[in-house]
Amino acid sequence: MTRSPFLKRITPQLIILAIVLLLNVLVLPDFFTVKFQNGRLFGNIIDVLNRGAPTALLCVGMTLVIATKGIDLSVGAVMAIAGATAASLVVEGQHWTTAVMGALAVGALCGAWNGILVAFLRIQPIVATLVLMVAGRGIAQLITEGTILTFLDQGLIHLGAGTVLGIPTPILIWLSLGSFAAFLVRRTALGLLIESIGINEASSRLAGINSRVLLLCVYVVSGIGAAVAGVIVTADIQGADANNAGLWLELDAILAVVIGGNSLLGGKFSIVASLLGAMIIQSVNSVILLSGMPPEFNLVIKALLILAILVIQSPKVSHIIYILRASTPPAKVDRPNPAKELKR
């Protein structure tokens, strides 16, 4: 039985995703039905992919940040800032591409701010990013002056609500950016270097890795991911809602990363598994919405489902499963065995 290590790594997430999707089918039998309607694919499963886009985009950067032993609480606020920037630029009459570039630049700047606090001022990531989490939403509101800044620029709207070949644009954006990032870290040495500083920064620095710059970059990537997510949600509702865009989404992103089997203590990571984690969370949300339960139960259901998922995945439980599966001790092999007769 030879499975590729990659498949082996994401198997738990695939199984869990399948289970949660099955739950969806239980509450809504035609969950998987996809129609082509009004020039676009139309169906619940498409919604899961589409609505999971912001979390998916956030969790790419979040995976890298967490791999370095960090955490980025500011992504929700950065989404708001980026969305507000994009909206205010098109409202001012700029071309939408300029607006998007502006938003990405602002996102990168926010990431760089976090990165400088973490990598150079050596402030603990959770506090460093808390600053921007608190202040960031204020900055976004400063840009929109507290209103929902609406716009009618079709180019920008297309990014959030449009389709390409019938597929909603956000799906294409997160799939392409996600796979690009996953490909990039594995086909270059980036993945190795990031894991290395996450496991032991002092050792990595002594091995000649430029850990500070790498740390900075990781936060910048997170900021840019948040900016893309911010542009998408803004475009989706044709308005920048500085108060609510990305509110508490950082928690979903962190959850997605953890459900993706990545350790909050840094080190080895898998972006693909995190993306699956984001889809798992969105599928859980979908169960809740489709079930028709009164909304006061939403949180309890979500908490219990997530808890169940995490318990199944916890190292101890998987260790027990491992032991149950391989209850025989490893065969005595490949060690030059000492002359046992010396014992006598």
């Binding site: 955490i71 001022l121 050596r122 402030i123 603990q124 959770i126 506090v127 460093a128 808390l130 600053v131 921007l132 989490m133 608190v134 202040a135 960031g136 939403r137 204020g138 900055i139 976004a140 509101q141 400063l142 002056e145 507290g146 500085a242 928690l251 962190i254 959850l255 953890v258 350790s263 909050l264 203590l265 006061e296 139960f297 939403n298 949180l299 309890v300 259901i301 979500k302 908490a303 219990l304 997530i306 808890l307 995490l310 318990v311 916890s314 190292p315 101890k316 439980v317």
Partner: protein, 330 residues
């Protein structure tokens, strides 16, 4: 001689005194007993959870569930007092048992399933808030006469400020918390866990019971804070105290406790709370900040405090290196 480990505490204290003086020089009315009383009363519930949070953070963990637990406690009390004839004191005992058990359960999950505290308590946060919703989405007021008795227990200063019972409860919690953290075996074990779970285990620290104990303390204090909050507002409301966990964490960090665990003081969190309260008060006294500038200024001040602390710590360690780097050689 001042121990170098006390430095962050002293820095926080100095920062508070300095900031208060600056505020008072701008708004002389801030130098009144009324404002002092307000600081204690208005931050009582936050202070109590901050004590629990200090234990958690000292041990190298984090507890995101406290805000939700406060809300749950309030709703639970309100519903119990509305629907049953239980005496509030009985209800208090009941809710403290529930929240302590809830914290202990999270601690057990963290230890036995080897899951990160961040995630376990995040799920706990959803769960507690969800449970509050299920009990009642509506805000339920509490009209028991015993509440009136408790609320009328205050000491009024000449200027009209009121030192209320809940303020004293907070101060008492801090004193007990400080004693437990710095003077008992349990406290030492908490610091030991924060210093390194692996080494602590090899040194024979009962890691399981300590971890469970820490989160039980945090849960129980969140419950106590919920009781105080229900006294503060005479109501239970499932949407109350959203995000309080972040305020508590910020207060603890401003108070000089390291998020990585092992270093810090309960008393530091007290000044952390006062500094946060001072920021709020100052903003209201100023009264010109728009909604968004309020957020930006709070973030900015948080940053300034962190930076100040960082700077002072750097300065002192640099001095320490030069002076005592080879202490054992002299």
């Amino acid at each position: 001689m001042i121990r170098s480990t006390h430095l962050p505490l002293i820095v926080t204290l100095l920062t508070f005194v300095l900031a208060y003086a600056l505020c008072a020089s701008q708004y002389p009315t801030m130098l009144s007993w009324r404002v002092v009383a307000n600081l204690l009363t208005d931050n009582a519930f936050l202070g109590i959870v901050a004590v629990g949070m200090t234990f958690v953070i000292l041990s190298g963990g984090i507890d995101l569930s406290v805000g939700s637990v406060i809300a749950f406690t309030g709703v639970f009390l309100a519903v119990i007092l509305r629907d049953t004839s239980l005496h509030p004191l009985t209800a208090f005992a009941l809710v403290l048992v529930i929240t302590t058990a809830f914290g202990a359960a999270m601690g057990a999950t963290i230890h036995y399933l080897d899951m990160p505290a961040f995630i376990v308590t995040l799920a706990g946060m959803f769960l507690a808030r969800g449970a509050a919703y299920v009990l009642s989405t509506d805000s339920v007021s509490i009209t028991h006469e015993f509440y009136d008795v408790l609320q009328s227990m205050y000491w009024k200063t000449a200027s009209g400020g009121r030192f209320r019972l809940i303020g004293f409860v907070m101060v008492l919690t801090f004193i007990v918390g400080a004693l437990v953290a710095h003077r008992t075996r349990f406290g030492q074990n908490v610091y030991a866990l924060g210093g390194g779970a692996g080494a602590a285990r090899l040194m024979g620290v009962p890691v399981a019971s300590t971890t469970i104990g820490i989160y039980a303390v945090s849960g129980g204090l969140a419950g106590l804070s919920g009781i105080v909050f229900s006294l503060y507002t005479s109501a239970g409301y499932s949407l109350a105290t959203v995000g309080v966990e972040l305020d508590a964490i910020a207060a603890v960090v401003i108070g000089g406790t390291l998020l990585t665990g092992g270093y810090g003081f309960v008393a530091g969190s007290f000044f952390g709370i006062l500094i946060m309260g001072l920021i709020q008060t100052y903003i209201v006294f100023d009264g010109t900040l728009s909604s968004w500038w309020t957020k930006i200024v709070i973030g900015g001040l948080l940053f300034a405090f962190i930076l100040l602390q960082k700077g002072l710590t750097w300065a002192s360690t640099a001095r320490k290196k030069a002076a005592t780097g080879f202490i054992a050689q002299s």
